[in-house]
Symmetry: C2
Subunit: 413 residues, 2 copies
């Protein structure tokens, strides 16, 4: 009996279900009896909310839809496992459920916080000498995981952001008077996604004029002066700004405005309003028309624009996690290693979860222009291969078709 | 010598350039010598800023790119012609330029305000007995033009909105705790675009829970109670709201929040912040996590999701305008007449511009549910055929390729 279980955690991406499919199909191909899914991640597992994936994924169409369905098919959670010390009860409960299900290997698809879950479970398994394998499957649009060249989910989000930025630029430059458009992009501490706006520039597009990443301290006065210089040329201006930009005293720019803050279970502040605040400042100072455009959750769930490179890699890290576990590895995260830039090639490689969990990879400062208002060509070259190629939605009656987890086959007693 | 001139005006759409192509190709096919483009509409014409379109549109690839390029290729303006009486000078100037260019027919692609331009020019032509033909080519994502079954631009925007709503719903329902997502959709006085969110509902999607159109007075207390009822089921809620919803005293909901208003040249207030305001109220009242998602300018320039029906019709109204003008008609707008629902078929039909200019077509109240929180099936059936079929972007290096108006061949002296 070789059963496996897989869960999804953290914020959705548009290819997170491709990784789920990679785990599912590879596990079956390699002889797993059952592939269980945790409904709402580890939190669902603790509630014994588990499904047999074969009940819902019955044919090739289901699987092709799964690849194209955004957000976590199994549901997600933002539950962080407590310290092992003093909370052995929680861990014992998890392992009891896993043993009951005769689980051989446990896969968790997620970002930084989810890799923390894998690390703790690995550590506890070692402590109690459980043979269960624990493997992390990386996923995050933020691209902020250590060691891996990039994370699945980033390429598609970057492709969506660059494509949308091109459209916003066309829209913003349409009038014969200056309009200042400020695009707000996700990325609390890492500017990878905001940097993707730089890819809009090309033969057919003027590109964005200013790009502000959270890696560089944001200077509101310099910002106004940067915009003022461009407006002197009597033209429209398009600006990309990370939601996470901070001023010198450590406050987020969006905190300068008055709005409701929300803090999630991991202690992360919900950020929003940066573009609105900056657009307001520009309007106030220069009396020009401004637009604040938040890409909001659209950028992480826009599976109608997926990069085929990303979909394939997302699948591959899922598959490679199963392969590694079935070969006896545990406590590993499957990373992507870029072996060639031209032609672009990436291979998967397991890495110790302790080297990845809770570490944030930011944009290297040497990839950001000296004055902090743009990115350097190296960064564009790094992102470029990750947004390549397309996978068309399955259009049904005019809309992209998805698949939902209907049937629940829980082990609740 | 049979020259024609074409301009684009008002807010962009993702298919406005398909209409431009329809005018351009049909005019050439029917023997026009030159097809001039006004750069930034009538305002550009007054500045003698005119291009010969054949200089930029040289081959079939250019034309295929034009169809897929969002926003007005020729640039736009929001310039409203003054009353004829007392401003004959402006009109004389326009006709002098048109005569100098030996213009046979004048085409203007736009919405309500642009049809006003066609109406005034028609009236003045009649007054001075000019033989120049003036034709309106309808365009607006808002779908608020009278007489025509619908407007080119609406179908693609509706398709984008419905597709994006599906993705937001998948994203919003991912967690195991309630999240209230409020999607803000364009539409100052007419709820057509907001109604398009209803198309998200289907076999694979729960659909939005509440839809608020500007045709119905918005009751903030009832809104809170509507949301409260849904939250009692302990689940996530997705709400679509028009930017133009107003409370009983006539104020826009977004005016209840504090933000900078902007009034455009036509006296229209810039609306934004409705979703943010309502999400804030929900968070305050119920202490749940909320998200405010403004589809902002994305919904009008997202040419990476075009409805093929819409692209074709946009082309056809442009072509039909040329045909009508070359047959001697003037002062007409090309409307779409639905001759069959199943199978869906529309034909073009010229209509007197005086019956269209400055009139707003709203959603009929009988297509809105009695309690004002949803739309009726008739409205979904009306929109459904308009979002059908796809036209794929021309993907180049991972991004949809567009075409820009580079070369300027002005007649400035």
């Amino acid at each position: 009996m070789k059963n496996v279980i897989v869960g999804q955690s953290g914020g959705p991406t548009s290819v997170i279900n491709s990784s789920l499919l990679g785990v599912y199909k590879t596990a079956l191909d390699r002889g797993a009896d059952k592939v269980y899914g945790m409904v709402h991640g580890i939190k669902g597992l603790l509630d014994r909310d588990v499904v047999d994936l074969s009940i819902r994924l019955t044919n090739a169409v289901d699987m092709d839809l799964l690849k194209r369905t955004p957000s976590s098919f199994l549901g997600s959670c933002r539950y962080k496992l407590p310290d092992i010390k003093g909370n052995e009860e929680t861990y014992d409960k998890i392992f009891a459920i896993l043993n009951e299900l005769e689980i051989y290997a446990f896969f968790y698809i997620g970002g930084n916080d989810s890799m923390d879950t894998i690390m703790r479970l690995t550590d506890y398994a070692k402590k109690i000498k459980s043979p269960i394998k624990f493997m992390g499957v990386p996923k995050t649009i933020d691209n902020d995981l250590a060691i891996t060249d990039h994370t699945p989910g980033f390429g598609s989000a970057a492709k969506y952001i660059a494509a949308t930025t091109k459209e916003i630029i066309r829209d913003g430059l349409v009038y014969d008077y200056p309009v200042v458009s400020v695009i707000e992009v996700m990325g609390r501490n890492a500017g990878w996604l905001t940097a993707a706006t730089a890819l809009a520039k090309g033969e057919d597009c003027e590109g964005v004029d200013l790009i502000y990443l959270p890696e560089v301290t944001f200077d509101p006065d310099k910002f106004i002066s940067d915009v003022g210089k461009l407006l002197k040329e009597d033209r429209s201006v398009v600006i990309a700004v990370s939601e996470g930009v901070k001023i010198a005293d450590g406050r987020y720019v969006c905190e300068l405005a008055d709005h409701v803050d929300y803090v999630d279970a991991f202690g992360h502040k919900q950020l929003a309003g940066t573009a609105r605040y900056l657009a307001g400042k520009v309007a106030e100072k220069f009396g020009v028309k401004t637009r604040a455009i938040e890409l909001s959750s659209l950028q992480r769930c826009a599976s109608h624009i997926q990069a085929r490179v990303d979909v394939t890699e997302a699948y591959n890290v899922g598959g490679a996690a199963v392969k590694a576990a079935f070969e006896g590895l545990s406590g590993q995260v499957i990373t992507l290693k870029r072996v060639s830039d031209d032609p672009y090639m990436c291979v998967t490689e397991p890495a110790d979860v302790h080297l990845i969990a809770n570490i944030e990879k930011k944009v290297p400062l040497e990839w950001i222009s000296e004055d902090g208002t743009n990115v350097k060509p190296q960064l564009v070259h790094y992102i470029f291969p990750l947004i390549q190629a397309e996978i068309a939605p399955l259009w049904v009656e005019g809309l992209p078709r998805h698949i939902r987890l209907h049937a629940k086959s829980t082990i609740k007693k």
